[in-house]
């Protein structure tokens, strides 16, 4: 199991502007190729995005797609046993108003993954990424998890550390 925490440039708002996408206001899943996509139609999300969006909707969790409603985007299906969560971007101002939102997301994610891998013998790795903004001017905190599905709850501890 590995949890990595690094600072990365905050280019999300700039790229959203260049592609004519909505600027995230709460949380937003980030397409895998946001940095390189030439247009909205070229955006590719992880295959798990649709399922996670449903789970978030059911939990009344505020996540809104950056692409316009009805825009046609693609989903990347990789048929290895690994399960990859889409990167979730947390907007700084939204986080300040909703300090528990990170923990809520980690809970939703870990409950789903436990359910998914239940009974599995040869289960793959789980990969998850969170992009956490302090202020739009500052760099982003990228928190990456890679490992066994049972370890995903450890993300909650890292998230708590971040809030200190």
């Amino acid at each position: 199991m590995a949890i990595r925490r690094v600072e990365v440039d905050n280019t999300i708002r700039k790229r959203c502007g260049e592609l004519g996408l909505a600027e995230p206001t709460a949380t937003a899943f980030i397409p895998t190729n946001l940095e390189q996509a030439p247009s909205v139609g070229d955006l590719v999300y992880e295959a798990s995005t649709k399922t996670l969006r449903k789970l978030l909707r059911q939990a009344s969790f505020a996540e809104s797609p950056v692409e316009p409603a009805g825009a046609s985007v693609s989903y990347l299906h990789e048929k290895a046993a690994d399960w990859v969560a889409p990167t979730l971007f947390f907007v700084g101002s939204f986080l300040q108003q909703n300090p528990t939102i990170l923990s809520i997301y980690v809970n939703i994610l870990s409950n789903y993954i436990y359910d998914l891998f239940k009974g599995g013998v040869r289960v793959g790795k789980v990969k998850a990424r969170l992009l956490i903004e302090d202020t739009p001017e500052k760099k982003l905190q990228l928190v990456e998890y890679e490992g066994d599905y049972r370890g995903i709850k450890e993300l909650a501890k890292v998230v708590k550390e971040l809030k200190k």
Partner: protein, 227 residues
């Protein structure tokens, strides 16, 4: 809610599966294993009839419980078939049956909270895999999908509330891919999502060999000569 008739049926089911499991050993006589397959198929039909009755009555709890029994029966059936294929020198089919048995046993646990624990079955299947088969290599395609639909309601998968892999009224939800955008790559992996997608042959010179039996696979040219 699981009614008393389903509870009674499940007790009878457990006894019949337990009996069938007595034949899940390589040493058991092939004709007796074949007979058991017939018995488990009959049991499976009974489960399906009862499940459909619960679906008609919109009793989701019972329908999902019966789905878990259905998976247990299918796992047992696949394991029995695996022994028959091993004994009749059909190694590719034996592998497929093993994978089916493992998948159904895992699905049984997901179908209902009251499902029988399958840890013992899964552990045994895992040991059999290592004892009977060489370690396979698998092919894993990566592709992008533009549209997909929900197997439960038929709506666009992203629009409905059904979650893939979860049971709904006696059926598992699946995402049905409708339009593939691009095939990006095919990788060789040792832990794929689909364990049926294995490498079946390797080449040496102009010949191809089956990875399970190491037998030479007749080429089209060989087959033409025979004809």
């Amino acid at each position: 809610m699981i009614g008393p008739d389903v509870v009674d049926f499940s007790q009878d089911f457990d006894a019949r599966i337990k009996n069938a499991m007595r034949f899940c050993y390589f040493t058991r006589a092939i004709e007796l294993q074949t007979k058991q397959i017939g018995k488990v198929e009959k049991l499976l039909t009974e489960v399906e009839i009862l499940k459909n009755r619960e679906i008609d009555a919109a009793n989701e709890d019972a329908a999902n419980y019966l789905l878990s029994l259905e998976c247990v029966a299918k796992a047992t059936l696949a394991e029995l078939q695996m022994y028959i294929f091993l004994k009749t020198d059909q190694m590719g089919k034996a592998w497929d049956s093993l994978v089916d048995a493992q998948s159904e046993a895992q699905a049984a646990v997901k179908a209902h909270p009251k499902a029988s624990p399958m840890d013992g079955v899964l552990k045994r299947l895992s040991l059999l895999e290592r004892a009977f088969f060489p370690k396979p290599m698998f092919c894993s395609p990566s592709f992008t999908v533009r549209t997909s639909k929900c197997s439960i309601c038929g709506e666009k998968y992203g629009d409905c509330g059904h979650i893939k892999g979860r049971p709904y009224m006696g059926k598992f939800c699946a995402e049905i891919i409708e339009k593939v955008d691009k095939l990006r790559e095919v990788s060789m992996v040792d832990n794929p999502a689909n364990r049926h997608a294995r490498v079946i042959a390797y080449g040496e010179g102009k010949s191809k060999f089956d990875v399970l039996t190491l037998r030479r696979i007749p080429s089209d040219q060989d087959l033409n000569v025979q004809a």
